[in-house]
Amino acid sequence: MTPEWPLWEIFIRGQHGLSHRHVGSLHAPDAEMAIKNARDVYTRRNEGLSIWVVEASKIAASSPEEKGPLYEPSNDKVYRHPTFFDIPDEVGAM
């Protein structure tokens, strides 16, 4: 059985000024081929200006089970949201 190529997570920036967004994953033997494969799989309809690839195994991720201690403490800290300011209409959407 042939060993499977490693999995890569693909991030693409659609326009100047926007951040790279995670678009999916694919397999490739190395980083350069991962970029080429990403170009072929994810930018066929002119979606991209820049591609980042990261080997999936190199990503450290938070664990879903820890969501209580990680996120719930911020639920009752309303003062962290800047909702107490009066914003002039001319500013538009913030």
Binding site: W5, L26, H27, A28, P29, E32, M33, K36, N37, R39, D40, V41, R44
Partner: protein, 251 residues
């Protein structure tokens, strides 16, 4: 109309048509999804280039034939593609080796055509070169990866190179059509591209740890239509059957 110009344009269009169709035969059955999509993209690029070349050929000919008529209503003896483009896909390695050898020539030829005295040809070359530069990078990297890969992939790539090598020489053949194109400043002398081709080839084959065959024998007969290999007719029966069975059908 200029018969030589029509001949030149069908050579360009038939190369991309025949190779584009060959590559499209992998659609849905390539070894991995990523290569499947990449090959389909390559095939689509080549078929798109075909539309440009053969439309212009029809225009130059002035007999009312459009790109579809030239692609689907001609038979083997009217095709002017290089023999290497009609060779069967073989295994994935053979397909990529064929692609690399063609891309290597294609990049150089299109680059030279950007300076064509015919603005329409220069424009097609300019547009195509962007696509073909990527094809070359991809096929070169794949040939290197597989050549310098496992024992089995190396063996398959060397076998592919040995098998396809006798079709390389035809890319650099030059005949009366070429002489007329050169005289009018429309296209470069194919022979003049050989040193640059050899330099690219030597570089990639060294990295791929593959040995370039020493034998200089080369087949001819594709680009002048004198003698295609038996594979083209079989391919055309697949490619043209719908238009043959239902002439001018559209959907």
């Amino acid at each position: 109309m200029s018969a030589a110009l029509f001949e030149f344009l069908t050579r360009m269009g038939d190369n991309t048509l025949v190779l584009g169709h060959r590559v499209s035969e992998w659609c849905g059955i390539a070894p991995v999804l990523e290569e499947d999509i990449a090959l389909a993209n390559t095939a689509l690029d080549l078929i798109g280039q075909t539309t440009l070349w053969l439309s212009l050929a029809g225009e130059v000919e002035g007999k009312g034939r459009d790109a579809d008529a030239l692609a689907f209503h001609r038979d083997v003896w009217d095709f002017r593609n290089l023999l290497i483009t009609e060779q069967p896909n073989g295994d994935f390695g053979q397909t990529m080796m064929r692609q690399f050898l063609f891309d290597c020539w294609h990049v150089l030829y299109l680059d030279a055509l950007r300076n064509s005295s015919d603005a329409r040809i220069a424009a097609i070359a300019e547009k195509s070169l962007k696509e073909v530069t990527y094809h070359f990078e991809r096929s070169a990297e794949t040939v290197i990866g597989l050549g310098d890969g496992t024992e089995e992939s190396h063996r398959r790539m060397q076998a592919a190179l040995n098998r396809l090598w006798p079709f390389v020489g035809e890319m650099f053949d030059s005949d009366a059509v070429d002489q007329e194109m050169i005289a009018q400043g429309i296209a470069p002398d194919p022979q003049a591209l050989r040193p640059a081709f050899d330099a690219k080839l030597t570089d990639v084959m060294a990295k791929a740890t593959l040995a370039i065959p020493g034998d200089d024998f080369s087949h001819a007969g594709g680009r002048n239509g004198a003698r295609h290999t038996e594979h083209l007719g079989h391919m055309l029966t697949q490619m043209q059957w719908l238009q043959r069975a239902y002439p001018d059908a559209t959907w």
